[in-house]
Symmetry: C2
Subunit: 367 residues, 2 copies
């Protein structure tokens, strides 16, 4: 993975936000390699008198202490998924629009660039801000820098509202569905397939389950004013022993994405009710996150950035804040469908629009 | 696999048939290792003036040339599936019956022992007999010694009737079903399972196919007076990419065991008619074998051994003879359900009964 990269001696946060995006994209930060970028961020912000800078591993926190009535956390992760020939970045015209092409441009260094620039420049925001840039978001949840910080410095998470800069095409996405994975297992009795009637076919027993799944109409659940579309899908199926043996076991793995108004237990009950005659084992479950958009500060934010709030479907770190009772939304440049793609690329105007909207709100929000 | 075995300097075919069974079971002949047993058979029969002994690789043919009006092939394979701590053999009482326990006792050295003893002793049978003991039956069909012999010495297969000594519990089993394997493939479109509606779930598309399989009532088809029970079964299923991805492909492998009155093409058409909307690929097909029990010699044999003829379900080498137009049946000691089992074992009385029945027919059959 010896992608050639430009040396970055220092981070110039007075540059325009697109230039900052390119600069930080060209410093590879595949999960685990966030250190050099974290160093540069600490260096670039340490001179700012309005910020208290805290480093915890490769996570950097910078916060104002202006005794505002309300405090907002604004956070973004520094790491990316592995590079695949798409660093250094380059500019391209895509459909007549200036586009920055390369790993991290969408997920989520354009969002981080917006945050870094505003952190540096806004010495007098109308709310106190706790900026957080963290490591290890793109790997197993156990390594997540935000999760680690929450354990060692929980007081840093005290806030009235949180904004994560994950790509949303500069729209506001709130909360997220929960996710549940369940193994549905059928059992039978092996026999030579030449005498199939001696056995009991475990694969055939999947028929009613698949029928129910194929016919299942997922609900749309309104939570705090946002419509969460659920989904119940078979994601894996596996069964059989050999081409001449009646199978004695088959396993169908289901993934239920459930609205954040449901608890995990409720989600499990719903799946059990749908497959009462089957053996089910829950293998993985994560709570969803309520959007919390009934909070006045959240409503003000949505209004200020001029976007319609939408539900977020994938699980993101907003759920951590929701779990703490802090309303949280995603707001960042970039099309989420291009995240992790080899042709990851961001519209430069969208980065600028995000910067402008966030700046406007942070200088006008009334607490 | 260093199973201790008794040395066998020579094969005593004047011993009783149970002793011969034990002697040849205790010479391991996992497919590929038939040579030493083939050597002993050649040695034991070379002295018999009534036999012409031919060796082809590790297949031994011994035939009478008595100018009888009719000729019968009587064949058995020398190899076994791998030994699993069940050689040397031992005698046990099972439900009060003397039982020989160990690898090969059922599949099919008891049958071979009956054949060897009769080949040696019957110098004046009422039909000419071509005895065949062959290698590599328990492995891929390409290696089968009978198939090889048919290619290099087709004239040896000229006969009016054939008996294979595969285990049938001393009953006559005729013909066999054909077998067809088909891959049924569904295709969809990948998507993140958090947005399942963007994708198209290939596993869900298996539902109608599995439903039809589960509801399918296999036919029983009467061929030459025997009832062949068919079977259509899913034997393998595989699909999915990851726990959070809507699967874009799933494959269900079907095995259709079809009556010997159907051709492979007819069997394929039948499966296609059942799954008209699916993508099907035939991966494996073997013709069945008509029992040919309408032949007078076959009827005489069935009557002589005092058994009711039954259909054979698994594919056996009788199909090779059927394909040559030679009526063929299986007749041998041992419960076929114990073939390949780790507790493979044969009832000693059944071996003796088989010897007696075959001897009686071979000395009385009128041609």
């Amino acid at each position: 993975m010896a992608d050639p990269v430009r040396p970055a001696a220092a981070l110039d946060l007075s540059a325009d936000v697109v230039a900052i995006t390119q600069a930080i994209c060209d410093i590879p930060t595949v999960s685990g390699d966030e250190g050099p970028l974290a160093d540069l961020i600490v260096d670039a912000l340490s001179g700012a008198a309005h910020l208290e800078v805290i480093r915890e591993g490769d996570t950097v926190v910078a916060r104002t202490n202006l005794d505002r009535e309300r405090r907002v956390v604004i956070a973004g992760h520094l790491d990316t998924v592995p590079i695949n020939g798409n660093v250094p970045t380059r500019f391209e015209q895509v459909d007549g629009r200036r586009t920055l092409w390369g790993r991290g441009t969408v997920d989520m260094k354009a969002g981080v660039a917006v945050q870094l620039k505003l952190a540096h420049e806004l010495s007098d925001p109308s709310v106190d801000v706790t900026w957080m840039w963290y490591d290890h978001e793109e790997v197993a949840a156990d390594f997540n820098g935000l999760g680690r910080l929450l354990k060692v410095r929980p007081e840093l998470f005290e806030a009235d509202f949180a904004i994560l800069g994950e790509p949303t095409r500069a729209e506001v996405e709130g909360g997220c569905n929960g996710t549940l994975r369940v193994e549905l297992r059928t059992r039978g009795r092996r026999a030579h397939s030449a005498r199939s009637w001696v056995g009991e076919n475990a694969i055939h027993k999947l028929a009613p389950a698949l029928e129910r799944l194929a016919a299942y109409e997922a609900e749309t659940v309104t939570v705090d004013g946002l419509d969460y579309r659920e989904g119940l899908s078979a994601v894996l199926v596996q069964g059989g022993v050999a081409g001449n043996v009646i199978p004695d076991e088959a396993v169908l793995t289901l993934n239920y994405r459930f609205a954040p108004s449901r608890t995990i237990d409720e989600a499990v009950s719903k799946v059990r009710a749908l497959f009462p005659e089957y053996e089910l084992v829950v293998t993985d479950a994560s709570d969803g996150a309520r959007p919390g958009l009934d909070d006045p500060l959240a409503q003000q934010f949505v209004k200020a950035v001029g976007a319609e709030a939408k539900p977020k479907y994938g699980w993101t770190d907003v759920a951590r804040f929701s779990a703490l009772g802090v309303p949280a939304v995603n707001f960042g440049p970039g099309d989420p469908l291009l995240a992790h793609a080899d042709d990851e690329r961001v519209d430069c105007d969208e980065i600028v629009a995000c910067e402008r909207a966030l700046r406007s709100w942070l200088t006008s929000a009334t607490s």
